[in-house]
């Protein structure tokens, strides 16, 4: 394997691994903060106990996330020096802001965890606000870097490929920033809510005596409602992102749909098999792609024929995109169905098939978020900074990376296994529900 290929694989593995923790690192603080606020407002100690339990899980996930985040940061600099050198000059402030936000999050998380029994209720809740600010702030900062990679602006290149006339504000507030930040953060909230719902569905499933307790049911209803709300918001943000792609990143959209020719009334392809640069045997819904991309069934959508062959992304992202959308729909449908059953057919709501479906949704939520990032990253290929820097030119040629590419993933798997082991040791949501009955 070449050094460049090894470098690409390694950063892909690292980011895929890190994203698992990012999901929870961004969403859990907000959910915990909300639950604790609710417990203070409504004077519900049980809700506070649950928030405490969730925060224990957050710590275990944060530890692994802090380590993988450190590795991501250093690998970017070591394996992608050309990219980081260029990006550092233009959007380095976003990297720095992410660092500031992470610092605040880490610091206050430590204080927050140590002060559950040491501060007053209000003091303790106030400590959660900087954690929320830090986690969401760091996600916003780093996602603006990614959006800048998709729609780079705020600089020009001189004859040697060095950026000049740098306008940091323009670079940070690039066209893709709004849609990408909104879509990604909402999807983290959606996926995390689905995972929490899956955990409580698992508890209900394991419940041996008849219907689950009132508090467990209440928790499941609350999380299912949240999942539906976040899911709808993700879908809305995704629709905006699709329209944005059609206008600003047509190559990515054409690859997602395997659209060969620029056309009006373009069909949306569902399923199918990717063969070369085409999608075969897919279900075609006439005009829907045009409608989703432009708002009109006769809208014109750019096809791969209008993209230089050397600039075309791999059509394999069609799978990731379909997977993401499918999971998003299932993630809204199943919790929605649970809520409907709970209201009109309460017996069905806690039957085994429903609980299994909710449990599976938890896994799907995480996979969906991973698919979303795969669409973004593969869809920008062969560029690392769209139209500016090709991936092959940005990665290190240092052969030492070949060995690293083999060993790091093994350690990631071990760390993930130990994180799950740690979670099993400290995270006991069922006990909290039983205690507070």
């Amino acid at each position: 394997m070449e050094a460049a290929a090894a470098g690409r694989r390694l950063i892909g593995d690292t980011l895929g691994f890190h994203l698992f923790f990012v999901l929870f690192g961004v969403a859990l603080p907000l959910l915990i903060c909300g639950l604790e606020a609710y417990s203070i407002w409504k004077k519900r100690p049980a809700a506070r106990a649950t928030a405490h339990e969730w925060s224990k899980a957050l710590v275990v996930l944060f530890i692994a996330g802090a380590v993988s985040g450190t590795i991501v940061s250093m690998q970017f600099n070591l394996l992608w020096p050309i990219f980081t050198s260029l990006a550092g000059k233009v959007v380095g402030i976003s990297f720095a802001l992410e660092g500031f936000a992470f610092l605040i999050e880490a610091l206050f998380l430590t204080i927050y965890m140590m002060s559950w029994k040491r501060f007053t209720l209000l003091q303790h809740w106030l400590c959660s606000l900087p954690i929320v600010l830090g986690s969401i702030g760091s996600a916003i900062a780093i996602t603006t870097v990614n959006s800048w990679m998709n729609t780079p602006q705020g600089f020009k290149l001189d004859g040697h490929g060095n950026p000049i006339d740098i306008n940091t504000r323009q670079a940070v507030f690039n066209p893709a920033a709004g849609t990408e930040v909104t879509h990604s953060i909402l999807s983290y909230l959606f996926a995390t809510t689905l995972v929490l719902l899956a955990i409580y569905a698992w508890i209900a499933w394991r419940h041996k005596k008849g219907r689950p307790g009132r508090r467990l049911q209440k928790m499941m209803v609350g999380l299912a409602a949240l999942a539906v709300v976040f899911g709808v918001l993700v879908a809305f943000a995704g629709d905006q992102a699709g329209k944005f792609l059609a206008k600003n990143e047509p190559a990515k959209l054409a690859a997602i749909e395997g659209l060969q020719q620029t056309t009006t009334n373009a069909p949306l392809l569902v399923g199918g098999v990717v063969s070369g640069s085409e999608v075969k045997h897919a279900i075609k819904i006439p005009g829907l792609l045009s409608f989703l991309a432009t708002g009109h069934f006769n809208g014109k959508v750019t096809g791969l024929n209008d993209i230089k062959p050397s600039d075309r992304p791999p059509v394999i992202i069609h799978y990731f995109f379909d997977g993401m959308v499918m999971i998003g729909m299932i993630g809204i449908l199943i919790p929605g169905l649970y809520l409907i059953f709970k209201r009109w057919r309460p017996k069905w709501a806690h039957e085994k098939p429903m609980l299994i479906a909710l449990f599976v949704c938890g896994f799907l939520g995480v996979i969906g978020a991973e698919f979303g990032w795969l669409v973004t990253e593969f869809g920008r290929q062969p560029y690392v900074i769209h139209g500016v820097l090709r991936t092959a030119d940005a990665v290190t040629q240092n052969k030492a990376v070949i060995g690293l590419g083999e060993t790091f993933p093994l350690l990631y798997i071990i760390l993930l296994a130990l994180t799950i082991f740690g979670l099993r040791k400290v995270f006991h949501p069922a006990e909290v529900l039983n205690e507070s009955r």
Partner: protein
Amino acid sequence: MNLVDASILAAAIFFAIYGLACSVECGIALSFLTGQQKQTSKYFTPLWEVTNVFLVFGFTTVAMLFNNALPALSHALLSTLAVGLFALLIRACVVLVLFYWRPDHFPKWGAWLFALTCFTIPLSFTAAGIYLITGQLFWQTLVGWMLMLSALLGIVAIGWLTINDRSDTRKLLSNELLFAAWLLFLGSFLPLSILYSGSHLQKWPVAAIDLLSIFGLLVAYLATTGRTKFKLKYYAGLMGLATPLLLALANRPYLVHGKIKLADAFGAASYAGAFLLGSAIIFPLVLLGFWLFIKLIKQPSR
């Protein structure tokens, strides 16, 4: 001082703080090896991993502000820093096992692995720092070896002093003796090797390290003879913070000694001021947080 010097000092401060945090962790690891975990178990928490944020910050500062040097640095330091990254991952695994498996009883292999990784991480980053100061990998020069040994002694001294508040002369190695050995090394062998090697490091920061070391020896002597109640760990911490800063100053005007100048490497004129201002604002907050953290550890829960 201009923006470029301020930037390299900011990076040195973040690395120095990370070095201190690592040293304390090494102290905890040493306590496990010497069977003193009962004294230090309250300090052993996976939350230590959050101190990695200083490493990220230090590294981000160098990579973002001195971005012109990044391709050269990446090529020279990939293997050196990869060792630290491996150790970082392994330590996280070991911490999770030790903390959640049987927190009351550490298996010997776990304690050894924890200690090994705890030492490897700061030493790997020290090796990278040595490359910046000497322009060569640490094993290639005498100054490199001296700096590495001095870092090792410093980590042991700071870690040991932090976990052993009071001196015990019955021990094989008393706190004062360990501290004095580090300072002797830092104050005599290191400057001598710098002089001997004909290095072009600036002289006054090296002289300042000398002076601080002599003063530290005096403090250690006073502490040994019981004439002062001043805790050596604070002085050791101060030395741990000051030494990387002074070495960064001594290395001016170079980022990589004799190879890349700071001014040539600096490529963030458009936002370096905002970055440094942000760091200056956030720094007191970080100190406040750590103060609160220590207070909370000591305070009993309600």
